[in-house]
């Protein structure tokens, strides 16, 4: 199995990243040299600082999909720390700003652990409040206006005020550094987790990704980097006020620049800042004396325009346009290969046989109760599964099947009862922990990580189980199991229904690990016979290798001949269980499905 694995194309290829960051570095350096000692240098400094700030924000908002509207909180901590240390103890801002970095990281960890349980709009709303509070506190403790001590002859660590290029060079260096951090982060296993999280938080959690930790880490990194920029900014602004560094406008700026340039791209935030900051500064320089609020107006109007006219942002729009042009010239454009159903060696699996009664219990569901509001959805559900068993849970729509799955994999907490997986009580565990314990699941409508390639979808799950090499091997093996090897590099968003379902099974297999338990929610619904055959064959091999399968369907027909045993759920209660032939003849089952009159 140690044969050479096909290379995967990562979401952020190294060569392209180096070219982009190199362009920023060289372009910035040229601008700095060109501006020399002229006042333009100050504009360049500001543009580069905001480019860095926006890039830092982009890590948590763009890559991880957690929109914060309060990044000024972290930025301002950097500004205040650097300035207060200089003013009170004469410590150079170059060193002082690191205190800000530490404070911002701590603040982010605290804020993150409080707020990141919230999702979407709630999270954005709550984060917007923190800078307001910091501002109130700063004002209360008498920090309404802290000037940066000015000594024209101060040295390098004070950013040599006589040579404005020193500060702009630091700004450029920081921006490039933030870009490097983003690239390293996104190319690590963490990068896959982040992308998975952004695409579908629940599916990521169910695939073993500890989403809360991933979010907090992304926020802490982003906050710390923002504080670096905040520290440098103080030396450019010369005075630190709460209204400025903790202001709404400061929180809006990274959002605006990133959206303008392209959220979630490496170059976007930088492009946004480099275009908009000089524009606003030039306008302010020309008309600012008569219209002091012009810059805010420009930023607000720019944000409105971008959102309404090209919400994808400048960089993606330009990139797509160039790509289209290039493709039209006949230069490229990969045509997706047709999925060959016979690419993996389809060795016949001997007719699957139920495990002996002596096989160890892999899943023990004990007396589960669950109600939503006044409606009882699960009533004293008891199910035992043995290792190597294929168990079908059937019941009419609305019988509580999916709720049962959500209780088992940790999305829902039962009102009473316990779930034991492989001898471990997982009733109170998080979905990611349950997944790592050896449980992979699929969803009623396939939930893949769109925007990631097929192999990355599976790899993100496999990585939660072990080393990178082992994960890569496992991911390729899982893809081969469902005959998707030749679609590995295709984005999940471009796959057909059948392929999505197969990919989801591969991801679930990678999540559970060999010998684990798979939970499949109506996995055969709406599939062609060819696709169904691929799935069923893969599942039989899974069982032959020691794995177990728990599958939901709403009709028996689909799974007869596949399962060892059925459990029939009706109105949240187990009304029958046993081998298929026994269930056929069960009076309670017939009544549940077809009504009283069918019972002869």
């Amino acid at each position: 199995m140690k044969s050479a694995l096909p290379k995967i194309t990562p979401a952020m290829p190294l060569r392209s990243a180096v070219i982009q960051l190199g362009t920023i570095a060289v372009g910035g350096a040229i601008a700095i040299v060109w501006a020399g000692d002229s006042p333009t240098q100050e504009i360049i400094t500001l543009a580069l600082l905001y480019a860095g700030f926006a890039s830092a924000w982009n890590i948590v908002a763009g890559y991880a999909g957690q929109f914060t509207f309060g990044h000024a909180a972290f930025f301002g901590l950097g500004s205040y720390a650097a300035t207060i240390l200089t003013e009170a103890y004469g410590i150079a801002p170059l060193y002082g700003l690191w205190l800000g970095v530490v404070l911002a990281a701590i603040a982010a960890a605290v804020i993150g652990s409080i707020t990141l349980q919230l999702r979407g709009l709630y999270f954005g709303l709550v984060t917007s409040v923190f800078p307001i509070v910091f501002s109130v506190v700063a004002t209360y403790i008498g920090l309404q206006e802290v000037p940066v001590p000015f000594n024209p002859d101060a040295g390098f660590a004070f950013f040599s005020p006589r040579a404005p290029w020193v500060l702009s060079s630091f700004a450029l260096g920081s921006t490039v550094m933030i870009g490097v951090v983003a690239v390293l982060l996104m190319r690590s296993r963490f990068g896959l987790y982040i992308s998975a999280l952004r695409a579908d938080q629940d599916a990521a959690e169910a695939s073993g990704v500890r989403t809360t930790e991933v979010k907090i880490t992304a926020l802490v990194v982003s906050a710390a980097l923002s504080a670096v920029i905040g520290g440098l900014y103080a030396s450019a602004a010369l005075v630190v006020t709460p209204a400025d560094v903790f202001g709404v406008q400061m929180s809006v700026k990274p959002v605006l620049f990133s959206v303008f340039g392209g959220i979630g791209t490496l170059l976007g935030p930088v492009v946004g800042a480099v275009i908009l900051v000089p524009l606003s500064e030039t306008l302010t320089a020309s008309f600012g004396s008569t219209l002091p609020s012009l810059s805010g107006l420009v930023y607000g109007a720019a944000l409105l325009l971008v959102i309404t006219i090209f919400p994808a942002g400048l960089v993606p729009v330009v990139r797509d346009a160039t790509l289209a042009l290039w493709t039209r010239r006949g230069g490229g454009g990969a045509t997706p290969s047709t999925p060959a159903a016979e690419d993996a060696n389809e060795e016949p699996v001997e007719a699957s046989s139920a495990p002996p009664a002596s096989a160890p219990v892999i899943l023990d569901i004990k007396g589960i109760f669950k109600a939503f509001g006044g409606t009882r959805v699960l009533v004293d559900v008891n199910i035992q599964m043995r290792e190597g068993e294929i168990l079908g849970v059937i019941g009419p729509n609305g019988a509580g099947k999916t709720t049962l799955f959500n209780v088992i994999n940790g999305f829902l907490r039962p009102d009473a009862g316990a779930v034991v997986l492989l001898g471990r009580d997982i009733t109170q565990a998080k979905p990611s922990a349950i997944a790592r314990a050896g449980l992979g699941r699929t969803f009623q409508t396939a939930r893949l990580f769109t925007g990631m390639s097929a192999i990355e979808n599976v790899l993100a799950a496999a990585l939660t189980r072990g080393s990178k090499d082992a994960a890569l091997a496992a991911a390729w093996r899982a893809l081969a199991e469902v005959h998707l090897t030749d679609r590995a590099q295709i984005s999940a968003g471009a796959l057909t229904t059948g392929e999505l379902r197969r990919l989801e099974l591969a991801r679930a297999m990678a999540t559970a690990g060999e010998g684990g338990l798979l939970m499949l929610d109506e996995f055969l619904g709406g599939l062609t016979h060819a696709d169904s055959a691929v799935l069923l064959a893969a599942l039989r091999r899974w069982r032959a290798r020691g794995g177990s399968v728990l599958a939901i369907e709403h009709t028996m027909r689909a799974m007869a001949g596949f399962v060892d045993r059925f459990v029939v759920l009706n109105f949240g209660e187990v009304i029958a269980e046993g081998p298929p032939e026994e269930i056929w003849r069960n009076r309670a089952v017939v009544t549940a499905y077809l009504g009283e009159k069918w019972v002869a």
Partner: protein
């Protein structure tokens, strides 16, 4: 009154309906059966024009509804009882019925008519809809749809989540409604047997395509249908 001509619907790369053609005449009871994921719900949503379709056409009384707003479809006399009932939970039973009338002038006699049809609702007219049982909510959803005096009533799995006894009640009501008026009914069901028994004509949908169609009585006795859709009758 409705003709669906070679309709194709896709969500992104996922094909939901492929070249579906069917028609429903005036005062006709048509059912559509098929497994989960076959595209049944998508078909109803296409008629109500809340999902865009890629090709083909839907014509009501000979006129294409392409480009019409979803809310105009209801005003053409097509009433949709969605899957999962979807009553307005925080509003009272009576307000749900009033809103169904699609007009600020509500005929109280008409509401009384609905109460006569579903006496359970009358008893709970001032309760918030969310507090109703599943069966009562289904009655309310049907009542709400009837308030606009439709020509075609479209029902998306009215049996979902109901106890067998209630299912029989709901189907009984639907049958009575059909018989006592000039209403057309388009019924989508998992429960193939009940749907075939209640309807005059049926279509079988599989993976977004019509695979079989014909008079319901004929389909009910078709061995292929029996083994595929009537579940346990296939035990042999």
């Amino acid at each position: 009154m409705i003709v669906i001509d070679n309709l194709t619907v896709a969500y992104g790369s996922v094909q939901a309906l492929t070249g579906v053609s069917l028609e429903i005449g005036a005062n006709e009871f048509v059912s559509i059966i098929g497994p989960n994921g076959a595209g049944k719900t998508t078909l109803l949503k296409s008629i109500s024009n809340v999902v865009p379709w890629q090709s083909g056409d839907i014509r009501v009384d000979g006129t294409s509804i392409r480009g019409r707003e979803g809310w105009d479809i209801a005003r053409l006399g097509i009433s949709h009882v969605p899957e999962g009932r979807r009553v307005f939970g925080q509003m009272t039973v009576e307000d749900n019925l009033k809103i169904g009338a699609m007009s600020s002038r509500v005929d109280m006699a008409q509401i009384q008519g609905i109460y006569d049809l579903f006496p359970h609702l009358a008893a709970r007219k001032h309760a918030r809809a969310i507090t109703l049982s599943g069966g009562e909510q289904q009655m309310l959803a049907i009542g709400r749809a009837l308030m606009s005096r439709p020509r075609l009533l479209m029902l998306d799995e009215p049996s979902m989540g109901l106890a067998p006894l209630l299912v029989e009640q709901v189907f009984h009501h639907i049958g009575e409604l059909f018989k006592s008026s000039s209403l057309s009914v388009l019924l989508i069901e998992q429960r193939a047997t009940e749907a075939l028994e209640a309807s005059q004509r049926s279509y079988v949908l599989e993976q977004g395509r019509v695979v079989i169609s014909g008079p319901s009585a004929k389909l009910l006795n078709d061995p292929a249908i029996q083994s595929s859709y009537l579940g346990i009758t296939a035990k042999g």
